[in-house]
Symmetry: C2
């Protein structure tokens, strides 16, 4: 059983369309490479009821991880930690380790200046009772980790460089461990001169022959009447050598099925 | 009451992180500008149960629109229309208008060639019983529109240029009509030299003074120790003149609250 991960992206800017959700795709790529599988991504606005409602729903599906991004900063609409607390039926309280991380951050950034712990700054240290802070190497608000049933909940900031830094320093190893040696393998091929609807039965055939190999077609447009499709072959498996051979054979079988016509060209990308 | 819109993005490539969900941000931007409000975005893989499960949940929230992207093409893993049918408890059947659109598309693209309606191509004409096809000006698979209760469900292709074309030709006017004259207004300002945690109480103050105006801070990084924040002021309202004045006053009030220090600079962006 793969390590299942759900993502929850929080922020009105995502719903207004002002921000493209690159956090979700970055985290999904990293989780995949670590041997895990992202099973769902939900985006909601800065709304306590919506956020806590989604968390309650996610926990019912019992993923191994729920990773949230956004809503842990100092402004009024940063309400992720309150929403987690609400969903878990626990209170929030100032965590002294979190406060220490915040103090240290200001002291390092403004040496010699006395940065007061205002209400807005104290907010970033208010964690759900069962939450533990993890250091943010690139910003003020610490990440927060807690456990509910089989699910580890991890709250990351919305600022991409901060989310990435905490993911890499604190979260990657937890996901790797949970994946228990599962690894992701992939190959991309480029096909020009054949329509997706013509490729479709060949994809079916290869997937029936190689269980566990997933083939996805990505139409990339039509140039001067020539359709361009990229095909992604992937599998997640424990045994590297076997998986790689299986993928290689699947790609070769697939290519052998294509009609030999002058306008058809194929290229193995990586 | 604003026109509420939910988005459902479908495709394993989104969960693997291979594709950034630019469809969602593009549609969200368009919906916002048309006077509607995107309230949630859900992303699931090519999985019948997951897709239909989300649709069932969305319908319980009774949005005005549910816009899906992806999963209406010719391959085995294109299962959005079956999932909609499952969620609505209706059957799927070949729709003759949809089939005609598909035939016309091939005839226009390959004049003089006899493109057979294979099983894979016929698949794109199999719509839920209550679904109506809408023309796809940039590709083969027609969009599909149907109604359940107060919710209009619209299924768009995952290929961005096709999704955009159908949105613009068939969907935009429906959303505009549903928004009943509501319009979105916004202003962006750039603030350098003040931390987000320092700005936070000023944001609170302005939002209390101007109900309906929403202020969101976007930290853009720190250059040579100087924090850079962009602030987004927005409101959705029926009366253009009033809304614009309110936004203008809110921005001016906000700027007047900022400390006058040599390192602080502000700039109205647009």
């Amino acid at each position: 059983m793969a390590c299942r991960v759900e993502l929850l992206s929080i922020g009105n800017e995502l719903l207004l369309g002002n921000t493209v959700n690159t956090n979700a795709s970055w985290i999904a790529t990293r989780v995949t490479k670590l041997g895990g599988a992202v099973t769902r991504i939900t985006t909601v606005g800065d709304n306590l009821k919506d956020i806590s409602g989604v968390i309650t729903q996610v926990l019912k599906r019992k993923p191994d991880f729920l990773i949230t991004t956004g809503g842990i900063g100092p402004t009024f609409d940063d309400m992720t930690l309150n929403a987690v607390a609400k969903a878990l039926h626990v209170s929030v309280r100032v965590d002294h380790d979190a406060l220490e991380m915040i103090r240290k951050h200001y002291a390092a950034r403004f040496p010699g200046r006395d940065i007061k712990i205002t209400k807005a700054r104290l907010k970033m240290a208010r964690l759900p009772l069962i939450g533990k802070p993890v250091p943010n190497p690139k910003g003020t608000a610490p990440g927060v980790v807690m456990r509910k049933g089989r699910t580890t909940i991890v709250c990351l900031p919305g600022v991409p460089r901060e989310a990435k830094a905490i993911f890499n320093t604190s979260l990657a190893k937890m996901i790797r461990a949970s994946a228990q040696g599962m690894e992701f393998f992939e190959k991309w091929i480029d096909v020009k001169g054949i329509m997706e609807s013509t490729l479709s039965p060949f994809i079916d055939k290869v997937m029936r022959k190689y269980p566990g190999v997933y083939v996805k077609s990505h139409p990339r447009g039509i140039e001067r009447g020539i359709p361009h499709i990229q095909l992604h072959f992937s599998t997640t498996a424990l045994r590297k050598k076997l998986a790689k051979r299986k993928l290689k054979n699947a790609v070769e079988d697939f290519l052998s099925l294509l009609p030999e016509r002058s306008e058809v060209s194929t290229r193995l990308l990586r």
